[in-house]
């Protein structure tokens, strides 16, 4: 199936879960990354149960604390 991750389209296996995608994308410190799927925030405790579907759009939103 085909999904869009952070603006980039990619072919992934059918039934990919969010934790699998996090692994695949090598997301650093995923506990501190906010995730949205199709413009809906996914609660941290719902990640494991989130199975992606063909055409889904996933965004990873990272903490950025600097300003100094």
């Amino acid at each position: 199936m085909y999904i869009t991750v952070a603006g980039n389209g990619k072919e992934v296996k059918k039934g990919l879960t969010l934790p699998e995608l996090i692994e695949l994308e090598q997301v650093e410190m995923p506990d501190y990354v906010t995730i949205s799927v199709n413009d809906v925030f996914i609660d941290a405790d719902k990640r494991a149960d989130t199975v992606l579907k063909d055409g889904d759009t996933v965004e990873f939103l990272y903490f950025m604390g600097g300003g100094c």
Binding site: G7, G65, G67
Partner: protein, 269 residues
């Protein structure tokens, strides 16, 4: 109040824009913007707002200028090392534009002072370097119904979003709670390319100006991310399922700003 001849000349490139005009320029001259943090983000934001003729600019920072600041904090110069940042910033802004009244606050913001501090301003710019301050500013702005620009920079990356009461998610809607101390690196630990403050801080000034003149689309409901190595900007739509937000949701549990443990960007080296 009518613009003087000097002002008409100084702001001519604004006035000629149909989105600004003399009317917009007067709005800028009557506006009050508070910049929290006179560092990598606050420096360019303050300079562009001063040049633009924002009539009152408040600047908050407890620190003194250090040599390691000068790689990016362009409002300060070599001879300012050792001086309070707010003093150095005020001197630069006043040299740039005598139309601007600069209020300085040589202090840290905390739960006891933030609400009163932001109350007299029209727009707030978060140029701080730590998560406790970013959440403090967000919560205070939500509680006081003040628009503000969030930004963060690190390494070759930056991000930006704008909160306007009732018009989209707040910072806490997106990030819920500050990460534990030292879990996410600061710019002292990880470094930051100097011009990143210029890019993102200038965009914060841009949002403030657009808000004041009431033109264009603000970054409400979006997080703008910038990756300088890829030279890529992305405007990421933020979800609207934020009714559970602890401060701006349907049943807020946060009714006063919170002092989280401080994890400042100790910029001593």
């Amino acid at each position: 109040m009518a613009l003087t001849d000097t002002q008409i000349e100084r702001y001519s490139r604004h006035i000629i824009l149909k989105e600004v005009g003399a009317k917009g320029q007067k709005k800028l001259l009557n506006a009050k913007v508070l910049i929290i943090g006179a560092g990598g983000l606050g420096a360019p934001a303050a300079m562009y707002l001063a040049a633009a003729g924002v009539g009152t600019i408040g600047i908050v920072d407890a620190d003194d200028v250090e040599l390691s600041n000068l790689q990016r904090q362009i409002i300060h110069s070599t001879e300012d090392v050792g001086k309070p940042k707010v003093k150095s910033a005020k001197e630069t802004m006043e040299r740039m534009n005598p139309d601007v009244k600069v209020n300085t606050y040589h202090m840290f913001v905390d739960a006891s002072n933030i609400r009163e501090l932001i109350r007299e301003y029209d727009f707030i710019i978060d140029g701080t370097d730590n998560f406790p301050a970013k959440f403090l500013i967000n919560d205070a702005c939500v509680l006081e119904k003040k628009p503000f620009s969030h930004a963060g920079i690190i390494r070759f990356q930056g991000q930006l979003m704008t909160y306007v009461p009732g018009e989209g998610p707040c910072y806490r809607c997106v990030f819920q709670d500050p990460p534990p101390k030292d879990a996410v690196p600061t710019c002292k630990q990880a470094g930051v390319i100097g011009a990143m403050g210029g890019v993102i801080g200038s965009l914060q000034a841009m949002e403030a100006v657009k808000y004041i003149i009431g033109k264009g689309d603000l970054l409400t409901g979006y997080l703008l991310t910038f990756d300088a190595l890829k030279m890529e900007f992305r405007k990421v739509k933020l979800p609207s399922n934020t009714h559970n937000c602890a401060v701006c949701g349907d049943h807020p549990t946060i009714t006063e700003p919170i002092d989280y443990e401080l994890n400042v960007c100790e910029d001593k080296i």
